[in-house]
């Protein structure tokens, strides 16, 4: 049966109806009810993405007595100097606005008797985040000029003008397929926002057996947005700053609630507090735990014994609102947090611009280097510690520049109706479904994960790698990338989806390997533990490592650190042209 094709066009195409995508749709719709906005989502926006289970707190908020600069300082310090201060600032300036909006939508945020939000520490707000995603989704579904298309997996961008060095092309749409039905979708829009989140599943997970998806990041965010941008020639930044989460053993539940909520300290098997020895940045907290274990003082724990029964009861409820497995674990064991310390471990590495800084190189309007393409949320780089509110803020910022660019004519509907990419995609889909392959997407995934675990610093190699091990990983990843689609066995659309998920992870892995190799220093322990260059090198590497995919190869180069408040040339068009390098001359690097 031939695959059927559905074509749709809109003024703005939003790929990924998650946190950032939903907020961009809300903003765009409110600013201009005439614009037609199309949100295309791989699952169903009701519970898709990182927010599915709920979240524990709003981790990014400018609390009373602080300024956006305070947040920028914090994020920059945590990233050991490698972050875009300009992006962090524009994000921070909108954190409180989006928080109020969340409250308007129905999110419960704790307030004191004066009606002011109650802070947890200097940057967090206490909430009940169980229903945060349905609140956002229902707001979007109520908008008359927004169409939501669920269960469509977007796999590529339409690029007019090709991705060669001299003419990087313009994005004019995207294409994908139904995750259940044998339908090919083709989308056209002058402005395309990619908001597909980060990438999980590149490394072998904590539990490679039955509970392989019991991971911290959403296993369904597989790096599609990165991969389609990479293949379209978009510039990427800081992939080498991997994110490894310190989590509760087995359930991989967040630990912030224990550390910041009840003030639990990190202790080793001897009961000694070790966190102070290694430092308190996000990477140092993971590193300390790995180092203590390596030194024979593991396992490590968060010391919750003695917090009191009431606190333990509150924790059970708090986890039900965001990571119910942890509560189930306590209840099943018949022991609560007050009676037993919570064991902690590091996760496999993820690529996500929401916690670290990996992603698209963007300007302060979240424009990527490819005209017509914008990025927001975990897929956008340079701005770590973004979290929920930062992703919403970036959705807002991207929506604002899209509106501006459409109104100024900087991006406009394409006059050509060439559908080359869609035609070849139709053939590919048909081939995948019909061919009798001898390798399954599952096997490809296992091969990728084992390779990365062994040679590119996964859990199994203590997060460490060397120049030579990276070369080995690259050779194997390239071999896997070269497996022809006709050799892959796919009988259902689920298999096809899985095939594309593995493909996009392979593309992300290749770029990641190039970045890891290019940063010849160790700035962040565990996140990029380069045993060939074990010291931090400020002279050589207080800069960004960026990359671009050209003619089938990853080029890496460096860029100087940004200023927090760069001088702006008048007029958006100028900003855009200066920034992208598509419109100005090629950057020197």
């Amino acid at each position: 049966m031939p695959v059927t094709t559905v074509r749709k066009s809109a003024d703005v195409l939003i790929i990924g109806g998650g946190t950032a995508g939903c907020y961009a749709a809300l903003t765009l719709s409110e600013r201009d009810p005439e614009k037609r906005i199309l949100v295309v989502e791989k699952a169903n926006i009701l519970r898709s993405g990182c927010l599915a289970a709920g979240v524990n707190a709003l981790n990014a908020y400018i609390t009373k007595g602080h300024t956006p600069d305070f947040y920028v300082d914090y994020a920059l310090r945590d990233a050991h100097g490698i972050a875009r201060e300009d992006l962090l600032l524009s994000m921070s300036e909108h954190l409180n606005e989006v928080t109020e909006r969340l409250e308007d939508l129905g999110l419960v945020i704790l307030k004191d008797e004066n009606g002011e939000y109650v802070a947890r520490g200097n940057r967090n707000l206490k909430i009940n985040g169980e229903n945060i995603k349905p609140l956002l989704a229902n707001a979007v579904l109520a908008l008359p000029n927004v169409e939501v298309l669920n269960e469509v997996n977007v796999v590529g961008l339409h690029l007019e003008g090709g991705a060669s060095k001299d003419a990087p092309g313009v994005v004019t749409g995207a294409y994908g397929h139904g995750v259940r039905e044998e339908v090919l979708y083709e989308f056209r829009a002058p402005a395309v926002l990619v908001a597909t989140g980060g990438a999980a599943g590149i490394y072998r997970p904590n539990h490679p057996g039955f509970s392989r998806h019991k991971m911290w990041y959403s296993p369904f965010n597989t790096g599609a947005g990165y991969a389609m941008g990479i293949l379209a020639g978009a510039e990427m930044t800081t992939f080498e700053m991997r994110f490894i989460a310190l989590r509760c053993k087995d359930t991989i539940a967040p630990t912030g609630t224990l550390a910041q909520g009840v003030g639990a300290r990190q202790v080793n098997a001897l009961g000694d507090v070790y966190e102070d020895k290694y430092g308190l940045t996000t990477s140092q907290r993971v590193w300390g735990t790995v180092a203590e274990t390596k030194a024979g003082r593991g396992p490590c724990y968060l010391r919750t014994v003695g917090i009191g029964e009431d606190a333990a009861g509150s924790l059970e409820k708090a986890y039900l609102n965001m990571e119910p497995s942890q509560t189930l674990k306590w209840v099943a064991a018949g022991k609560n947090a007050n009676e037993e310390n919570v064991e902690i471990e590091g996760t496999e590495p993820y690529i996500t611009g929401g916690h670290t800084a990996s992603g698209y190189w963007v300007d302060d309007g979240r424009r990527t280097t490819v005209p017509g393409l914008y990025a927001a949320g975990d897929v956008a780089g340079g701005s770590p510690q973004k979290y929920v509110t930062g992703a919403l803020a970036e959705g807002l910022l991207a929506a604002s520049s899209i509106e501006e660019d459409l109104n100024s004519g900087l991006v406009a509907p394409s006059s050509s109706d060439s559908v080359d990419s869609a035609t070849s995609f139709a053939t590919l889909l048909q081939d995948l479904l019909e061919a009798e392959g001898n390798v399954t997407p599952e096997e490809l995934e296992a091969a990728l994960q084992t390779t990365m675990d062994t040679y590119a610093g996964g859990i199994g190699s203590g997060y460490e790698f060397t120049e030579s091990s990276l070369d080995e990983a690259k050779a194997r990843v390239r071999e896997l990338l070269a497996v022809p689609p006709l050799q892959v066995s796919c009988s259902t659309m689920r298999d096809v989806t899985h095939y594309f998920e593995v493909r996009e992870r392979l593309v992300v892995a290749e770029v990641l390997l190039a970045h890891l190799k290019a940063r010849k220093e160790t700035r962040w322990h565990c996140f990029a533990e380069n045993k060939s260059f074990p010291e931090q090198d400020d002279e050589g590497f207080l800069c960004y490592v960026n990359s671009r995919y050209r003619d089938g190869a990853v080029e890496t180069f460096t860029r100087p650190l940004s200023e927090r408040r760069p001088e702006k040339t008048a007029g958006t068009e100028r900003d855009y042209r200066d920034f992208t390098g598509r419109w100005a001359n090629e950057h020197s690097h």
Binding site: N44, V108, R120, F210, S314, T327, K329, A332
Partner: protein, 110 residues
Amino acid sequence: MSIRIDEQACVGCGRCIRVCPGSLLKLVPGETGGVAAIESPEDCWGCVSCVKECAFSAIHFYLAEDISGKDGPRTTMQVRAEGPLLHWDFSKDGALFRTITVDRRNSNDY
């Protein structure tokens, strides 16, 4: 880490199918009509969206052996919604032994 669907309790309304962030559920023919089924339980993330969505408490959530030990999967969790309240019921071998009630109007203490 995964879910079991009680075929007797499931009415095949399909609401769980909609909310799964991995599109892992589908309707399959049951004895008296369509019932929800999870195709590959090992792909479950454990977000429990489906458990909360089910008005018939037909979906049981458990931690598999590899993360909870041999007897781990015997303890399961279900949810009953009652207005703003969510009652989380914990059972061992099918017998209810504890309920934790969360009021959705309240924020977390931590």
